[in-house]
Every structure is written in structure tokens, then in C-alpha cells.
Amino acid sequence: MRITLQGIGLDYPGPRGPLRAVDGLDLEVAPGEFLGLIGPSGCGKSSLLAMLAGLRAPSAGRIGFPGWTGPRPPRRLMAFQEHGLLPWLSVLDNVAFGLEAQGMPRAAREARAHAMLRRLGLEGFATSRPDQLSGGMRQRAALARLFVAEAEAMLLDEPFSALDAQTRVVLQQELLDLWSGTGRSVVYVTHDIEEALLLCDRVVVLSARPGRVIADITVPFPRPRRIMGPPPPEVAALRWRIWDMLAPTITPPAA
């Protein structure tokens, strides 16, 4: 499924009138593409994701799904930085949440959820509550909930930023393994340049507020990727190119 964003603008209510967080943003997500969104804090990355998910309406412009012919709007499901698991539900019920929302009968959705838990090594925790899990396992459960629902597009908002470095790498690899072969589009928001390059087919760099596209970079890293080892030298070089673009937006301009 293709997603197009045209002339997207977003205003925040500010103390002195509306504050423009995103301005005139054009973007296209190709079918089956793993797209990274990177930019300084406050450039509207997360808001953009919320707009893509339909949780928030843009102040200007439109989001379209050209070629989509389904009976309902395409499902765009999110994964959140703070996992967003329901603390009173078992891990199994959490993972099956999306399927339940689609009206799937209990036996069928539990079978699928179990299969997904097995795949992610969480089968022993099906009846546990989220607060009985480690941070890494919670994000794994959140990924399980996301992928078992088989949405047309998946929107991930810095899902691993709160994890330690080792756990993060393991989960990044698991994410790629889960995604590969699904043919679904992914939009991945991060402010970690290296993570964006390791995971994404294409990285879009946004400017500081108001957020606009300042670069659109295709990552020359063939799939399937093994990200546990050192990345190819082209990827390492790209990292500094993006850093050079972002650095001036991070350093506050001299008064």
C-alpha cells in the first residue's frame, strides 16, 4: 500500500496563537518500504506518525492511500516508546488485542497470539502481566501485538529508545526478521541516526520546527541484513553525512 502526504501542516495551540510544528511537508511511503523519519526534537516526527495513524488530523494538506480499494480504510497500527500494553491484561490478551478489536473469535485469536509469542520466545509468559516482564520483553510483546494484527502499515515511534544497547540490537534484529517477507510498509521514527540506517530502506531527514523534508536518502545496505556485525562502509559514511545535516539544527543559533 502506498501512502502519500501532500502539503501537510500541523499547528499546536501556543500562548501567542498557533505554533506551526510541521509546514508544507510532502512525503510518499512506497508499498513494502521500511522508511525512517529522523530529525531534531520537536520537528513533529511523532505528530506526523499520529497523523499517519489517524489519531490526529493535520491542520493543512492531506494524507492519501492511492490505489487502496479495501472496504475499510487501510489499518495503520502504531508501536509506542512506552510499549502501551494494558497493565491489567495478560501478555496473551495484550498480544491478541488487535485481533479482538477486529472481532476475531477467542480461540482463533489466542492461537495466533500464542504462535507469535512462541516466535518471539515469550511463550512462557502468556499468562504474565506486563509489569512482571523486563523492559525488553515488554517491547517484544508490543511488537508481537503489532505484527499479529497484520496491518497494512506499521508505524513505530522510537520503540527501542528506552532499552539498553544490547537489548536494543537484539530487538532491532527481531523487528527486521518479523517484517521481512510481510510486504507491509513501515514508518520508523527515531533520533538515532545509526538505528535509522541499520533498519531502513530510505531515511527522510526533517528540519527543526517547523518540520520540512531536508533530505531523502536511500540506504545502500542489501537485505536480508545482519545488524549484529559491522555495517558496510557506505552506511558508516552516510551516518556522518546525516550528522552534518542535523548538527546545525541541534546547536542553538547564536543570539
Binding site: G84, L86, L89, G98, E100, A101
Partner: protein, 233 residues
């Protein structure tokens, strides 16, 4: 265990003080006399009768009041406009002394059993409604986004998000409701009850048999303990 020991020690001290004449027996009868009355009233069925009458009023009055209160509270929590409209009404009606209005309720409800349950239901309503509204608004907005994003239908949102999410705060409100209901029930029965624990309390003063007061209060404490335990700690 420690509770029980402390209770026994206090009872023993009371007993000794009463027997030695350090406290007025008339107002502070020793625990053995209270227990003897309690045993006798349990044996002859008087206590069971009182408990049945009060328990029935409490269950119906509290159930109705707290049930409607919970519904109103959840509705207010879910609909901010409803909350803005009802909040001042609740704020104004909550402090009304429901027992003071008992004569009115008796007239309005034809002097029936209903009239005695109305004040109980009313006091139970408000804490449940207030807690319900707060409880819903206290649910993490992230979880609302999750439910919306996954397209959960309204009934599922209620069952999976609103009810379990609101439960901890709601439960505290229901405990307050329950205890307010018990206090008012006893007052109502003292004023107008032919039966029930409140009538027994009133009778104990009318006959100056204070052991009956303490014995009844002891049963009431047990009743409170059991009902509150049903709502969790």
C-alpha cells in the same frame, strides 16, 4: 495475629477496669457482659433478625446508589461535557444531610421500606459518582490511543480499558460509598426502624442496656469488615 493480641489485651484491661469499678459500669460494661449479651442474642435469633433487616436494606440501598453512581461517574468520565454539566449539581447535592430529609422521603415514598433505603442509596451515590469520573480520567491517555488506534469497538473499550482501568480508583470510591451507606442506614433505622441494627442501637439507649449497644456495634464492625473485604484492600 498481632491485631488479635492487641484486641485481647485491650479487652482484658477494660474488663479489669470495669470490675474494679474504675469506669462506670453503666456506660462501659465489661467485655464479658457484652459477649454474654451477644451470645444470647445470637442464640435467640434477635441478632440474625436485625442483621437480615439491615443487610437487606444495605445491599439494596448501596447496590442501587453505588450502581447508579458508578454509571453516572463513568459516563461523566467518558463525556467531558456531561461532567461539566453534572459536576456542580453533584457538588451541591453531596453535602446535603440525607437523614435530615428522611421525613420528606417517608412522605414521598408512602412510608414504605423504600423511603428508608432512599437516603442510603443517595449517600452511596455520590462517592461512587465522583470516584467513577476521576477514575476514567485517570486512565493513561496512551492506552486510549492504543484502543483507538487498534479500532477497538465501544463495548471492548469498556470491557478491556475503561472498567479495568477505572477499577482501582473506583474501588476506593465504592468503599467510601459503602461506609457512608452503613452510617446512614444505622441513623435511619435509629430514627424510624422497627427492626435492624440501628433499631437495636436505639433500643439499647432506650433501655440503657449499653452492652446491647456495644454488642451491636461489634456486629456492625464485622459487617463492615466483611463488606469492605469484598471490595479488596
Amino acid at each position: 495475629m498481632a491485631h488479635l493480641l492487641a484486641l485481647l489485651l485491650a479487652a482484658a484491661a477494660w474488663e479489669a477496669a470495669a470490675r474494679a469499678g474504675w469506669v462506670a459500669m453503666l456506660l462501659f460494661p465489661p467485655p464479658t457482659i457484652i459477649l454474654a449479651w451477644l451470645v444470647e442474642s445470637l442464640r435467640n435469633g434477635e441478632m440474625a433478625e436485625s442483621l437480615m433487616a439491615s443487610g437487606q436494606r444495605l445491599v439494596l440501598g448501596f447496590g442501587l446508589g453505588a450502581g447508579l453512581g458508578t454509571l453516572a461517574g463513568l459516563a461523566m468520565g467518558l463525556a467531558p461535557r456531561l461532567h461539566r454539566a453534572l459536576d456542580p449539581v453533584i457538588a451541591a447535592l453531596h453535602p446535603m444531610p440525607k437523614v435530615a430529609l428522611l421525613p420528606l422521603f417517608l412522605v414521598l415514598f408512602g412510608f414504605s421500606e423504600k423511603a428508608r433505603m432512599v437516603p442510603v442509596a443517595l449517600v452511596a451515590f455520590f462517592p461512587a459518582a465522583i470516584a467513577g469520573a476521576v477514575a476514567v480520567r485517570a486512565i493513561d491517555p496512551l492506552l486510549w490511543n492504543v484502543a483507538r488506534n487498534y479500532g477497538a469497538p465501544p463495548l471492548m473499550v469498556l470491557r478491556r480499558l475503561v472498567l479495568p482501568g477505572a477499577w482501582p480508583v473506583l474501588r476506593a470510591g465504592l468503599r467510601l460509598s459503602l461506609n457512608a451507606a452503613i452510617v446512614v442506614l444505622i441513623s435511619v433505622e435509629m430514627l424510624s426502624g422497627n427492626d435492624g441494627l440501628g433499631a437495636a442501637v436505639w433500643q439499647s439507649w432506650q433501655t440503657m442496656r449499653v452492652e446491647q449497644l456495644y454488642g451491636t456495634l461489634l456486629v456492625l464492625a464485622m459487617l463492615g469488615l466483611v463488606f469492605n473485604r469484598c471490595l479488596g484492600r
